[in-house]
């Protein structure tokens, strides 16, 4: 097994890619995908630290299970919102939704 900093660096790289995508894409679906990438990056970190520091406590694994649950709920609701917006405004471009600013 490679040392812990390798996993940390991989997780950080994936998180940065996800953050970049979430900040700079026009398509709402790509923004949702980028958020999923960030959640996965966090999960890698949780599992790696759990394995290296408390290999038998399994708290990191439990956190990952709950993160995956919340991520699945989030993607379902998020895509429902995107589909509704697409039906009403005929667009998935986030820059067409500036009226949500209030």
């Amino acid at each position: 097994m490679v040392p812990l900093p390798y996993y940390f660096a991989l997780s950080l790289t994936l998180f940065s890619i996800g953050l970049f995508g979430a900040l700079t894409k026009r398509n709402a679906i790509t923004v949702l995908m980028s958020i999923e990438l960030m959640l996965n990056a966090v999960n890698i970190n949780l599992v790696a630290f759990s394995r290296f520091i408390t290999p038998q406590a399994l708290l990191g694994h439990l956190f990952v299970i709950f993160t995956i649950t919340v991520a699945a709920a989030e993607v379902a609701v998020g895509l429902a919102l995107v589909l509704t917006l697409n039906r009403h405004r005929d667009s998935v471009n986030l820059q067409d939704f500036t009226w949500l600013r209030g």
């Binding site: 390798y6 900040l23 290296f52 609701v77």
Partner: protein, 189 residues
């Protein structure tokens, strides 16, 4: 470096290539469908990382939920919202905002990597070996249904609420009448 370490390093490098390449594909493919397939590859790489960390159960549910459910539901959403020009569906924002976003992400990467690796406590460099006969999946299941039973049930309620909420949000406003026309729209179908 022993052969064993070299082997695990090679496996990690391959998985990291899959994860980072898949992630970059999500951001840089111009066709949003290609981006979704690329995301599925990144998820596969993450599942491999879980297996390399001996988290077998998480690797399996990663494949089941992320590749089997999330990637498929995203593919559905792409098909339901598709445009005529699929090749241009995954564009960036304007150059100024793009530079700002890139700067933020790169800044976070450099700052956290520098901080993390310079302040690294030095131990544990190697993972402690698991005692023989340890069944992490068994202990995980026992933990979920004893000490963590309440969060487990709350997660179940959350999933139900999200499912009902998603159906409620996504359904048509006027069943039977099809899509509602907006005042500013002219003859779009």
């Amino acid at each position: 470096m022993s052969t064993d370490q070299l082997g695990s390093l090679l496996v990690f490098a391959g998985l990291a290539f899959l994860v980072v390449g898949g992630g970059l594909g999500v951001v840089f493919f111009r066709n949003v469908f290609h981006a979704a397939v690329s995301m599925a590859f990144a998820f596969l790489g993450v599942a491999g990382i879980y297996f390399s960390l001996q988290a077998d159960f998480l690797g399996v549910i990663q494949v089941l939920i992320y590749i089997g459910a999330v990637a498929v539901i995203i593919a559905f959403a792409i098909m339901l919202t598709r445009r005529g020009d699929m090749a241009e569906t995954n564009r960036f924002v304007s150059p100024g905002q793009l530079a700002l976003g890139a700067l933020t992400a790169a800044g976070l990467w450099v700052a956290l990597l520098g901080l993390g690796l310079s302040q690294w406590p030095g131990q544990p460099a190697q993972a402690p070996p698991l005692p023989a006969g340890t069944d992490l999946t068994l202990s995980l299941g026992q933990l979920l249904l004893s000490q963590m039973a309440l969060p487990f049930e709350i997660a179940a309620v959350l999933l139900l609420v999200a499912l009902v909420g998603a159906v409620l949000i996504a359904r048509e406003d006027h069943p039977g009448q099809g899509r509602r026309e907006q005042p500013g729209e002219v003859g779009k179908s």
